[in-house]
Subunit: 360 residues, 4 copies
Amino acid sequence: MSNILGKNITVTLFGESHGAYVGACLDGFPSGIKIDFDYLEKQMNKRKAIGKISTPRNEEDKVEFISGIKAGISEGSPITLLIKNNNVRKKDYEKLENIPRPSHADYVAHIKYGGYEDKSGGGHFSGRLTAPLVACGALAMQLLKEKGIKIGTHLKKVHGIEDRDFVDIEKDIDKVNEIDIAILEEDKKDKILKEIEIAKDNGDSVGGILETAIIGLEVGIGEPFFDTLEGLLAKAIFSIPSVKGIEFGGGFEMCDKYGSEVNDEFIIVDNKVKTKSNNSGGIQGGISNGMPIIIKTAIKPTPSISKIQNSVNLDKMEECELQIAGRHDPCIVHRARVVIDSIIALVLLDLLKEHRGNQL
Amino acid sequence: MSNILGKNITVTLFGESHGAYVGACLDGFPSGIKIDFDYLEKQMNKRKAIGKISTPRNEEDKVEFISGIKAGISEGSPITLLIKNNNVRKKDYEKLENIPRPSHADYVAHIKYGGYEDKSGGGHFSGRLTAPLVACGALAMQLLKEKGIKIGTHLKKVHGIEDRDFVDIEKDIDKVNEIDIAILEEDKKDKILKEIEIAKDNGDSVGGILETAIIGLEVGIGEPFFDTLEGLLAKAIFSIPSVKGIEFGGGFEMCDKYGSEVNDEFIIVDNKVKTKSNNSGGIQGGISNGMPIIIKTAIKPTPSISKIQNSVNLDKMEECELQIAGRHDPCIVHRARVVIDSIIALVLLDLLKEHRGNQL
Amino acid sequence: MSNILGKNITVTLFGESHGAYVGACLDGFPSGIKIDFDYLEKQMNKRKAIGKISTPRNEEDKVEFISGIKAGISEGSPITLLIKNNNVRKKDYEKLENIPRPSHADYVAHIKYGGYEDKSGGGHFSGRLTAPLVACGALAMQLLKEKGIKIGTHLKKVHGIEDRDFVDIEKDIDKVNEIDIAILEEDKKDKILKEIEIAKDNGDSVGGILETAIIGLEVGIGEPFFDTLEGLLAKAIFSIPSVKGIEFGGGFEMCDKYGSEVNDEFIIVDNKVKTKSNNSGGIQGGISNGMPIIIKTAIKPTPSISKIQNSVNLDKMEECELQIAGRHDPCIVHRARVVIDSIIALVLLDLLKEHRGNQL
Amino acid sequence: MSNILGKNITVTLFGESHGAYVGACLDGFPSGIKIDFDYLEKQMNKRKAIGKISTPRNEEDKVEFISGIKAGISEGSPITLLIKNNNVRKKDYEKLENIPRPSHADYVAHIKYGGYEDKSGGGHFSGRLTAPLVACGALAMQLLKEKGIKIGTHLKKVHGIEDRDFVDIEKDIDKVNEIDIAILEEDKKDKILKEIEIAKDNGDSVGGILETAIIGLEVGIGEPFFDTLEGLLAKAIFSIPSVKGIEFGGGFEMCDKYGSEVNDEFIIVDNKVKTKSNNSGGIQGGISNGMPIIIKTAIKPTPSISKIQNSVNLDKMEECELQIAGRHDPCIVHRARVVIDSIIALVLLDLLKEHRGNQL
């Protein structure tokens, strides 16, 4: 396993879905920062299960800091935070022990860790591990906001229903960051919620595409040849469970176009260099070019469904049927958006530190 | 800059497009391996400019080893290789010096490196840097092949023209690794070549999608939470110039499906656990599951086109027109496929070493 | 700050002396290991304050595992452990706030972290941080023992009083690992204890030299050119507070000898290659040679003394006198020996993993 | 092997003693720096074999830059440099092939790399690898000098003959950096040279202690808990062949003293905080405190001696005698001093970048 993200500012992630705690240690964070606990709570809330379209497992997700912060101010030493797993029901998982859930990590974990891995709720592979990530991300985001950097993500598409693109990007970022379900168009929100409920009622699940915009990032962030801004963001985002694709700017669609159609010509606006279009998604040569960074992330349908599925009993090495009990999300796309924002914030803060040092 | 890829087996990449050499240092490669120079040359040839659909810049790309290999056998010490830049024409670039080419790294490099960066042919940001990557990758691939791991990539799509999917994967991998232009269907090859030629004749360019398959990789490769197999492959692949998107298995298309449609149910075949479908693309929970790994990579149209474009003069800070001289590829998708294979081989070898140690 | 040790098996260390907890996260530890909690407790006890020669601050140092272990067996996921700080007396330190203690980290921390660092008891710079290190080290040591590797450290010298050298190394290692105060000669133990008590009675402190022996390590561990066995051990050991020197084998004394006097000639014993002497301290070219590894570590006198000292008031920028209150150790050499064993075990386990992979 | 040093500014080292080249790739070095080639040559000369007290192998050691520098100015891309091995005499080593030289890396390399390692002149383990280190170090040192940081090393002791300590540190640093044989006292120089000649005449060798002083480093450099300034310097310095011990400030001698004797009391000088004594060697808590950094490094006698020694034939697994042919240094202490300065400069530059970012 390798549970450390980052180079100069690092996150070490730990815990299991049905263990005592999930948590993280954020190292290299600057001292003297007054933590905005209201903002932290707001970010944590965005990740919470909501009403009918989420798991009935309801976690308080109160973040407890056990090192690195004194009187609400960062000390420079590593910041360790714990989130208690209150709502644990290990027995839901007992009968699953040797029957891996399709498209989950159960089977690979069983082979790699010899059956010793915690199986309850996916153990260390659970989406629950994203809770401490969001907490760390909130601290990173607070710093970025002070530097004029804004990050926002909306549900571009869920099971075929598409939200509009970002248009007035700063305004749209502000908007999605203030709402529970990050969909820009009200009528699309209704349709998407309905789509999720249908899946739920059928014991099924749906996935979607998250679109993220980042503004305010200076020109020059990213360290090619190998530590490109795209590469570092992609590596971080792929660690979020259920992510199966990522594209920047024009992405896959550019493959049907001519260079002359998608090249981003340079212009001067207010004595600053900009590009007329932004098919590069704000990144050229692996380095930020000052334009909004645009990322699309594909989230597969939640693999936990209550429909009967085929699987195998690994002890007996024979095929069998499986009906997953436990409490599951028919869709995690709306909860994942703040996870993506958070992990992006951590990557950017780390790169900013490499660029600017401790003065950030 | 950060020009080091990998953790236990590393590649340090160096050189500029129109400098004396491009090269790389491969460290951690096991000792006692008899290098297959014929295979190395074969791989280098796949990256070479071909006929009408590539740049007229023709480089011999002879790989010279200056450390780590004695009498054709690896010594255990770092393997350094150089590739001479013979066909250098710096004067093509002189007039461009302060007018960044749209969708190239010119502008960001100018800001980040203060104008001191080598501008000729994109300098260190040039696709030419992928030549030493292919050379290192050939060494890695040779080791992987001995362990029964095969990697192959074909042009799934170029400017809207689609090749068929991989079907009989092992056979298809073998096939694409034996042909110059890696397209599975003969008639599609003709159409694609024609498409590229049209772009060229118009002073324009096209992009495409590369599909990669990997077979023979054991279950258990990948180090979550953060060093997932998807994440490490994505980070490496995004360092290849012009890559703007990546997806694994069902990727973005799964966002329109139900979980019950795309979950990969487990079955037993020949007393081995397999999955009926492979929408996970061979990776679950960030770890290989023994099924073929399937990756799609989006390559944008080559940004260098000879059509007149708008840009800005960075010295005068005024808008201007730009016509790019120099010798350019109307399409790099067919040349990029071996680059993708190579960088994947390097990532896999590094992960195998983490998994198995020096015995690999 | 950089609180991560290791490459493939890592320790992330956190906490402050008078915060809620000190703790650590051990990542990459293999799954399926039944933790020997008795051994863990035994190791923790070796670090504890003992009788008259240590601080009156008495900590229970109970290790609480909050992730990575289930039913006493490692799961493969990161192992997080917490040690509660019970015996906290922040008020001892209040008056010190802006008067740095001589030869402590107070002053540099004040400058580097802008006064936001936790000052009580040295905060994150406290020797208390070595408690979780010993806990992680006990887990590493348990694995090493199973592979036939033994590590032991004795007090070679305290304030001028010298213990004898290791003679029958395996027996001596076994002996020191079974006793509270790791001194080989009984009469020297009495003298050393007396020396410490004198220092204590005078409000003063003493330091000493710890000698460590490692046996059972196979030939070939260490990764030159830069990750030599000496270098990695030294880097780790220098992170232990108060360490100011380290030498391997003949060390500094060899500087007065001829090569012909200190070269380790090869011989064959029981059909195995050995060296006649061991001035290399078991390491040649940065790689273990199969002979016992011999390390000497210099521990300076504990900087906390109750004698009045000169210092400066950083707020007023004026010189002043300082009398340190709080509870302090007149000597930490006897407590440090298990810290050195522990951090060595962590370094060796990490290198073994690089060498052997997950099969260790 | 692990041939990469550093985190944000890295050196990748390659080559073998009797291969085509030794060289290095320096990555992360800032752009826009006009390289001082005279200074580079001056530094390279300090490492050269001198007269009677060194090996007759005479290498021109001309540094050829093949990437990262254009018109004498750094471009921001990785700087690769090569040094040709002209004076190669592989045949000197042919008969040695399976008889390891005592206290050399021959035996461990043979086991670790299976006999495939380059054996001539120690291959990749040769002191010759320090030539490219000195070249990279010269570039780092040039930057440090511009920031007011000075580094100097003298031969504190050779085979029992002691030079005086640094007294007026800045003046002494300037002095040793201008002389060939870095000994502060003229009469000690004569004695030491004589001592080396005697060793040489006897087919023997001597070692010594190098003392290094660093001034001008700001308060706050070093990243505890694990990346302490002592630890990072020690790790780097132990990678230099023949180093067997290191101490900072009072080092091992403090073990005989009371805390009250060696604690560094704070005083105010010119409105700046200083310490009255400097037993901490300029480092407290792993962080620079603004006082001169004082390091002592133990260099063992050169293991290559021409006296007949006992060894074993690894093929036949039988004991035998060995007389080492080849051309060897009876002492490397005088040549090693610039190697230590160079590697220290690289470590400091890397830490400065972590502290200050690209503005350094």
